[in-house]
């Protein structure tokens, strides 16, 4: 049996490990254009700052492919020939035949719609090659940890539209590293691009279209604190400002918005990601069905419209916890989907992908963030309880109720165990029960004083109606 996996990310690798665990003799081939080794995409920011090296962000030792005899092809897949059962490759490479296929090709950055986007010095912060470009603009090159091994091995087998192509570095043309960095897009990748530029000693501009940072996930009061922290660090936060165009000769020099014109040496466009599935549209009559988001349509076993071909991770449109069907760009769901798809590849017909409750965590400019359940969803009869702690620990706590039931949590500034929070939700607990037992979910490090909620805050914190939110049709955050 010959299994081919397109994508060396968490979904693809997890599937490869699961298939290998059960079938020691099957042929497993992983096609990846981006890198030789499976790495944690969510960790690119630390490689940029120099806190980690490329090897540090690889969750498995480098010999894993040899040890488990997983074959690798470092080239761009440009299509799937379903009839002949083979993956078509760029750069004149022989097509790769398969008996079963897993498409786990992930996301690519959403391109900016603005004139001037093709100028050098404008890029994204999603792929290895994006990282190399951004590092070259700001730091002049990689850290002493070095570039990833065989960084350019894919170039002869790529195409000009690839998200893994090499970028023009404006700093090289200019003969000077970037000083004025601008980041567009108020989400997680945006704040990461801002944070690393700040760590490099710069004062980046952060252009956010919405009224406040990350309205999909946090409300105005919560976000104010994060913006404050960004400004305290010297980040120039521009809220409710729309980019109109970029200006410059060959490299970007200015960024023009509806409110002004600013000098810019390097611009990171971080306005989300879309499924990296264009190559599936390429060859005439498309065998796999894609939806309007560009996600591969799959059933509950993650099998596509073609039997024997599965899809998992960012590129697949899966059923979300709220019933919506669309791609979900998250680390832990991609990992789960990789495992479920592997069961499908192994011929298990019973295994279904079932999304559990929503939860996530992140760190926003040093501020810990934990969420669980339905927050910013405008659920029926929603009320929000909010408490701001300003003692030795600064934190905010928001608990969302539907009627008398607690349905969601949003926390900043402290660490919480989402597993216990989800238990509260599943047990249909009331607000007063949850407040009595909240410290069971505590996950602060030792010696951090527990959250103390004064009696009057317990009573006064509850407000009728939903928290103010910018989005009429809220969706959960496209988080890493």
């Amino acid at each position: 049996m010959r299994v081919v996996i397109i994508g060396n990310g968490v979904a693809g690798m997890e599937a490869a490990l699961e298939v290998r665990r059960r079938e020691p003799l099957w042929d497993i081939t992983i096609i990846s254009e981006e890198s030789d080794h499976f790495f944690s995409r969510t960790a690119l920011m630390w490689v940029f700052s120099g806190q980690l090296s490329h090897q540090c962000i690889e969750p498995l030792e480098r010999d894993v492919y040899e040890r488990l005899s997983l074959q690798r092809i470092r080239a761009r897949a440009v299509g799937v020939d379903v009839e002949a059962k083979r993956v078509l490759m760029a750069g004149g490479r022989e097509p790769v035949p398969f008996d079963q296929l897993l498409v786990a090709c992930g996301s690519k950055p959403r391109p900016g719609p603005w004139p001037g986007s093709e100028l050098a010095g404008i890029g994204n912060f999603v792929t290895h090659q994006d990282l190399a470009w951004y590092e070259a603009e700001v730091h002049g090159g990689p850290s002493r940890g070095g570039p990833p091994p065989n960084a350019d091995a894919h170039l002869p087998f790529s195409t000009p539209d690839s998200p893994y192509r090499k970028r023009d570095v404006a700093a090289e043309a200019r003969g000077r590293r970037a000083r004025d960095v601008a980041v567009i897009g108020g989400g997680l990748i945006g704040i990461e691009a801002v944070e690393v530029a700040h760590a490099a000693g710069l004062h980046p501009r952060f252009f956010i279209r919405e009224e406040w940072f990350w309205p999909m996930a946090i409300d105005r009061a919560e976000s104010t604190w994060i913006s404050e922290r960004m400004r305290a660090h010297g980040v120039q936060v521009h809220l409710e400002e729309n980019v109109e165009r970029f200006e410059g000769e060959r490299s970007v020099e200015r960024i023009v918005t509806d409110q002004g014109s600013y000098q810019a040496d390097a611009v990171v466009v971080a306005i989300g990601v879309v499924p990296n599935t264009d190559f599936l549209r390429g060859e005439g009559d498309m065998p796999l069905t894609l939806d309007r988001f560009g996600g591969v349509v799959v059933d509950e076993r993650l099998e596509t419209s073609v039997p024997g071909i599965f899809a998992a991770g960012d590129c697949a449109s899966v059923r979300w916890f709220n019933g919506a069907v669309r791609p979900e760009q998250l680390w832990y769901t991609a990992r789960d989907q990789g495992r479920v798809a592997a069961r499908g590849l192994l011929g298990d017909t019973a295994q279904r992908y079932a999304r559990g409750h929503w939860y996530n965590s992140a760190k926003l400019m040093d501020i810990e963030y934990t969420t669980a359940g339905l927050v910013n969803f405008h659920v029926e009869g929603e009320r929000n309880w909010f408490f701001e702690e300003k003692g030795p620990v600064r934190s905010t706590s928001r608990i969302v109720l539907s009627g008398d039931r607690v349905v969601g949590f949003n926390f900043l500034g402290r660490r919480w165990d989402h597993a216990v929070l989800i238990r509260f939700i599943e047990e249909h607990r009331t607000l007063s029960y949850v407040l009595d037992h909240l410290n069971e979910a505590r996950f602060d490090t030792e010696f951090v004083p527990p959250l103390h909620i004064p009696m009057e805050a317990r009573l006064r914190g509850l407000s009728e109606g939903p928290a103010p939110s910018a989005l009429p049709q809220p969706v959960a955050p496209p988080a890493v």
Binding site: S40, A43, S49, C56, H139, V340, D366, A419, F447
Partner: protein, 377 residues
């Protein structure tokens, strides 16, 4: 400042002196030369050169001996490194309290007290070092020569207090809070903590090496006791154990373990192999406490399905534990090597890890977690 979690980002891999650059090699060379002279200057016949004789240096600044000079330099390293560490990671209360205790123990118990006692013509006692790290402590001749109260501390500290504390709080109570070796590693040595090897190979070496030294330390202590009580009747045995030759057990242990492994290699290689080479691979006390920790209540708790496999924990583990492998497989764990420095939890960007001393209450929390739906598989 927030009281937990890393503030700001580190630029570790962008600094040459932290990544085996020229400065790192120079520092390592200096440290190795220093330790070689300190321990073996006499044996190598270098003490006749005043510039290479640390006793001469010590007397020049009014200290009784080279060991007090060494103590002074050590204390400067711990204090200076402590300031470096606290400026970087002192926002976290755990880090702050831990390093403060480390520095206080070094300044008061490991330096000032022995110095004052020496100045008053008393014997010097290092109360913060316990057997088997202070292997010499259990020599029958030494035990017989010290005041009863000190002997009670020496025996009770090593045989009762240390295991009980390790059972209750993990070996961190000693290795990361009290011990001088750990104190220097976590202060002066902190800039190089990411250099600790994390490969499977390094782990295999560690397991064999550290337990070998542990058995040698315990076995040789027994041998010394046997020699003290029956040495007269066993002349050949006495010659091997304590005959005075350089190859006798008593002197060889001091040379190999105390001087070469703990000093020359253990500290000298900080800038090249990370600050816990000695603690991880050779310290008999760490090995013994590790076994007690394994049976005890300390664990690193992992939040389920929250890890993004970024690798900060593994990279900044000074003991070379692949923390990420546990975090990404949702496995709370207790590793005997773990010294509980807390850095994995500190650098984790998602608050996945927590150092815990399990109690009944916490166990109930864990039970409650068992009812959780495990997504899919």
């Amino acid at each position: 400042m927030d009281l937990q979690g890393q503030n700001g980002l580190d630029n570790t891999f962008r600094e040459s002196w932290r990544n085996r650059g020229v400065v790192a090699w120079v520092v390592a060379g200096t440290l190795i030369s220093f330790y070689t002279l300190l321990y073996f200057g006499g044996d190598l016949g270098l003490n006749d050169v005043p510039a290479l004789n640390f006793d001469v240096w010590a007397q020049a600044i009014g200290l009784p001996s080279r060991w007090h000079l060494y103590g002074l330099l050590y204390t400067v390293g711990v204090v200076g490194g402590g300031v470096y560490y606290l400026r970087k990671h002192g926002n976290s209360r755990y880090n702050k309290y831990r390093i403060a205790v480390n520095v206080a123990v070094q300044v008061l118990l490991a330096f000032t007290l022995p110095l004052v006692m020496a100045l008053f013509g008393q014997g010097s006692y290092y109360f913060s070092y316990l057997w088997p790290l202070a292997w010499y402590d259990f020599h029958p001749g030494h035990l017989a020569s010290i005041p009863a109260a000190v002997a009670v501390w020496t025996l009770g500290g090593a045989l009762v207090l240390a295991p009980l504390m390790a059972y209750r709080y993990g070996k961190r109570w000693y290795c990361s809070w009290v011990c001088g070796c750990g104190g220097l590693a976590n202060t002066f040595g902190d800039p190089w903590r990411h250099l600790t090897a994390t490969s499977t190979k390094s782990w295999k070496f560690e397991k064999v090496a550290v337990h070998t030294v542990m058995f040698i330390a315990i076995g040789s202590t027994f041998a010394l006791f046997l020699d003290a009580f029956a040495g007269d009747r066993l002349p050949a045995f006495h010659r091997i154990v304590d005959g005075g030759q350089w190859w006798s057990v008593k002197r060889l242990y001091g040379y190999v373990v105390g001087s070469i492994l703990a000093g020359v290699i253990g500290t000298g290689l900080y800038p090249l192999l990370g600050p816990r080479v000695w603690c991880r691979n050779f310290c008999p006390m760490a090995a013994l406490l590790g076994l007690q920790q394994k049976l005890g209540r300390f664990q690193i708790t992992v939040k389920p399905d929250m890890c993004i496999s970024c690798g900060n924990c593994t990279t900044y583990c000074e003991m070379g534990i692949d923390v990420r492998s546990y975090a990404q497989s949702n496995e709370s764990f207790t590793r005997s090597a773990c010294v509980g420095c807390g850095m994995c939890a500190h650098v984790c960007p998602r608050g996945v890890l927590r150092l815990e001393n399990l109690t009944r209450k916490r166990n109930q929390g864990d039970k409650a977690r068992q009812g959780l739906p495990v997504v899919n598989l």
